[in-house]
Amino acid sequence: MILLKLTVENFRQFRGKQEIQFLAPSQDDANVTVVFGENGRGKTGLFRAIVFCLFGERRLSQDGDVPYDELQLVNVSALEANPDTPVKTVVELEFSHRGSHYRLRRAILGMQDEGRIIEEEDEIRLFVTPSSGNIQQIPTIEINEVIDSILDRRVKDYFLFDGEKIERLTRASIEQRREISAGIRNLLNVDALETAIKAVGRVTRGLEKELSGASHEELSRLLKRLGDNEEEQARARKRLDELADEIRLARQEIDKTDKELDKFNEIRHLLERRKSLEQELGELEQQATEALSEMKNIVCKASALIVAPTVINVYEHIDHQKQKGEIPSEIRRDLIEKILEEKLCICGSSVCEGSDAYTHIIEWLKRTSDVSTQDAALNLWRYLSEVRNHFSDDADLVEKKLQQYGNIRSAIANINRSLENVSNQIGTSERHDATKLDDHRKKLQDNIISLEANARVTQSQLEQLQQENDRLRALLKEEKLKVGRNDELSRRSILARDAQDALNDIYSQFTREIKDMISESATLLFRELLDHEGRENLKTIIVNEDYSLQVLDRYKKPFLANISAGQRQIMSISFIAALARIAAKGSKIEIPLFMDTPFGRLSYEHRQNLINQVPTFASQWILLATDTEFRRQEAQLLKNSGKWGKFFMLRSTQDGNTEIVEQDISSALAILRDEEAYQ
């Protein structure tokens, strides 16, 4: 997908019809369009126009708690100029994709009703012109499907994003990660492989059902266990989907309740505070789960520490005996017993019972133990001397983990206290309606916490079932070979199961390889984009099973919780670029990177790196920038890269609207201010 032209008409700040022709990648290699405007001039309006046109969505992730009915798209001054006439608001986007030209048009009608602005959907049209040249109008019902096949809405935030919020990708919740994972699989085109696995699985189950009716007892038993296991797995997966849906619905209900609560202006600041505390709580709960999971892995070490004092006592006791020369004894016990039995010393003199020599030898006998006991004691001494050296490392590790977990729990307790305090303040605001709504909201929030815990348990059960499934499959394969190579039904069943296993193996290898490739590619770019200090400390980006991200520091320890918002932003951009590279199989992917104010949180070195790198990996970069982040220094850097081809300025008009003015690059450099101007 390459964006060609955006036309807006009476949309937000843009009165009348205005357009931007983006720079499409060309032979001279330039691929960057900059749209420059001060705050409030409509940069995010243009971003909103594209998201609205493509997906029909009015709300952007950065809108947060803004009530839905406050998100008006119609240009208010056009409406006020003609109060009795509906105003048509239109966004039209032209783009190319795989050789075809697309023109997507979405319109709404805005009107006033007793001072309120009402907006109604008016039309949506999509025209496609393939390279053959015949224009085709896509039926309305199919438009979303077509757009999703070009840019899946679940991953749109990866390519069309608000620069300052992009770092949120590294904090996605469980259900967001599931959505993102589905979107990425779609983007990477592995969904056909998934369908093939399901279809072969269906055939396999049918054949195995037939086979279990045959007279092979062990085979029937294994097939039944495998069938039960797969049913349980399907139930667990379904439950996870249901839980994700329930969580999503509860969140929507909370948003709705918040909109109602927002009407109570006097408690608005408390509501905002609560929302931010809840977000923090969610992140801490996630960290607590991760810490608990790490602790599970060191439980065996912790149990060894319980017996550490006893182990050390035993070691010291044997060591003491060893130092005294009792272990090993100077004279072997079997030799002393032989002397006493034969009453003859090794020197040849006789040893009579009752003599001094006899009494002396008896004393020796008492101080010695038999050879096997001595050997065992020595082996134990050697083993314990090794084991006790590890106790202190293990104890440090266990203590560190417990402390970490304790700190997280204590932070959770603090946040819960603050939450209770804020909720009490909301409750005592003498607004009966607000209190009632707030109680409803609290129940919803409690429900979300319980649903999320449930989802984590179900996920862990699913992993155990998968392990059991692997074991049963191996047993089944052996059993099938034993019982029925000459039987037609068995041959078909074995073949279907083998094909299913082959596809599953390929699928897991394939996705693992893709994740490794994304990790590797993201890490390379991350390190190029980071400043010197960041490069010293942050070494590797890891893509987890569910496509969530982690970063390892120079000691190969997880470090995500400690990196800055700017570094998170750089990390997310690196991940997006890697994803784009993999999806495009090494060449440039035909998806634009549309960034709204991406430099705000970045240091100059980070900005410099981004300006040099992004145009090389993105096929098209559309940069919406404000005056404090896109100064003459940044513009000069971009110009020097040879990638910058178009510049649009959003200028305020006398009636408070915005006009889009195209200017050449040299004029842009003259308009933009130096860093000193902001000091």
Binding site: P139, S149, A199, V200, E488, R492, L495, A499
Partner: protein, 66 residues
């Protein structure tokens, strides 16, 4: 309208390479399943067509001592 999405050529090559280590009949069945999945048919329709392929591939060939 049929979606233009399909397993891209090099992804197919990658899959074919990985299937090379499997017996001929397993490879043929797996590739047929992917090919049918790409044609956007339902899972049940694909499974029906695979039954026929399995019957053919599971027949013992001459000299096969299985």
């Amino acid at each position: 309208m049929t979606s233009e999405k399909s397993l891209l050529p090099d992804v197919n090559t990658l899959i074919e390479d990985k299937l090379a280590g499997y017996p001929e009949n397993v490879r043929e069945l797996a590739l047929k399943a992917i090919q049918l999945a790409e044609s956007q048919q339902s899972e049940a329709a694909i499974a029906d067509q695979l039954q026929t392929v399995i019957r053919r591939l599971a027949k013992p060939s001459e000299g096969d001592t299985l």
